[in-house]
């Protein structure tokens, strides 16, 4: 379940980065502060390498940068909203505004189901709109919990 992996500190309502690299660094710094990520530089290099092999941006303003590797401690999820949108080189050309950032240890069995669940959740227009209208992290958590009920 998505909501079980979240607390309010893991939701950033106003990502400030103007580029994909800035946004990734912002998430990584936040993950480091929350003790979810140890080596910021290695995480950044690996996730950027994957992004360069194919952007994690889906359609309709959603991006899900994700990485599973053995240097990651445990499965974690961060969520960020960028009001102005950032060019993640999305498949439909739309700027990404709702961004999920995921890390996991290699062979973590919950990793693919988590990615799948988030992708399906974000296929609903009402969910995307609610995310963008949320003014507190608690609201984002409520939207997810309600959808998962």
């Amino acid at each position: 379940m998505i909501h079980e992996l979240l607390n309010k500190d893991q939701i950033i309502l106003n990502l400030s980065g103007a580029t994909k690299e800035d946004i990734l660094k912002e998430f990584i710094a936040s993950g480091h502060t929350l003790k979810l990520i140890d080596d910021e530089k290695e995480f950044f290099n690996r996730i950027l390498e994957l992004e360069n092999l194919g952007s994690s941006a889906l359609e309709k303003g959603i991006a899900i940068p994700h990485l599973r590797d053995n240097f990651v401690k445990n499965l974690f999820l961060l969520i960020g909203i960028t009001r102005s949108g950032v060019d993640f080189d999305s498949i439909d050309g739309e700027s990404s505004r709702i961004i999920f950032f995921i890390g996991a240890k290699k062979n973590d069995k919950a990793y693919l189901p988590l990615l799948s669940r988030i992708s399906r959740m974000c296929s609903y227009k009402e969910i995307r709109e609610s995310f963008l209208n949320a003014v507190t992290p608690g609201e984002i958590m409520d939207i997810i919990s309600r959808w998962e009920e």
């Binding site: 092999l53 194919g54 498949i91 439909d92 990615l115 799948s116 992708s119 399906r120 296929s123």
Partner: protein
């Protein structure tokens, strides 16, 4: 060489066998600097028919199949990237022929790869329909492997 005119390649698929087949074969062709878009397709009318036959709630079955579809997309995204292939993913539910034609237009696709593997029943029928419609409605390169 025809590959010089290829930049964005759509790989529509219905199940893992299709994509395994494609993954195995593209390794033998030089697709360096090309972008692949893996497109998982779910035909809603067919799923509704199946749900009725299984006496199962159609919306629930669609949700399960969408989860399963995304799961396979992320799995194969990882497999393609392990081979340093530039890959993107998308899932479309609806009328699969229309969805493919829309993706060709919306994603700026220039090439479509379809598997030659013969399938009976619904998937075989859909593949024929897709091929016929792409040939009729678009001027894109079609590679059948």
């Amino acid at each position: 060489m025809i590959l010089k005119n290829i930049d964005k390649i759509l790989l529509p698929f219905f199940d893992s066998n299709d994509i395994e087949n494609i993954l195995e074969k593209i390794e033998k062709i030089d697709f360096e600097n090309k972008q692949f878009i893996l497109l998982r397709l779910l035909d809603i009318e067919h799923i509704k028919f199946l749900a009725k036959r299984m006496k199962k709630d159609a919306d629930l079955l669609i949700s399960e199949l969408e989860d399963d579809g995304w799961n396979s997309l992320y799995y194969y995204e990882e497999e393609f990237k392990k081979k340093y292939v530039n890959v993107r993913i998308a899932l479309k539910s609806g009328n699969v022929v229309n969805e493919i034609l829309q993706c060709i237009s919306n994603f700026g696709i220039d090439t479509i790869i379809l598997t030659r593997e013969q399938k009976k029943g619904f998937e075989g029928m859909m593949k024929e329909k897709i091929l016929k419609n792409i040939m009729l409605d678009s001027d894109k390169i079609i590679i059948i492997i």
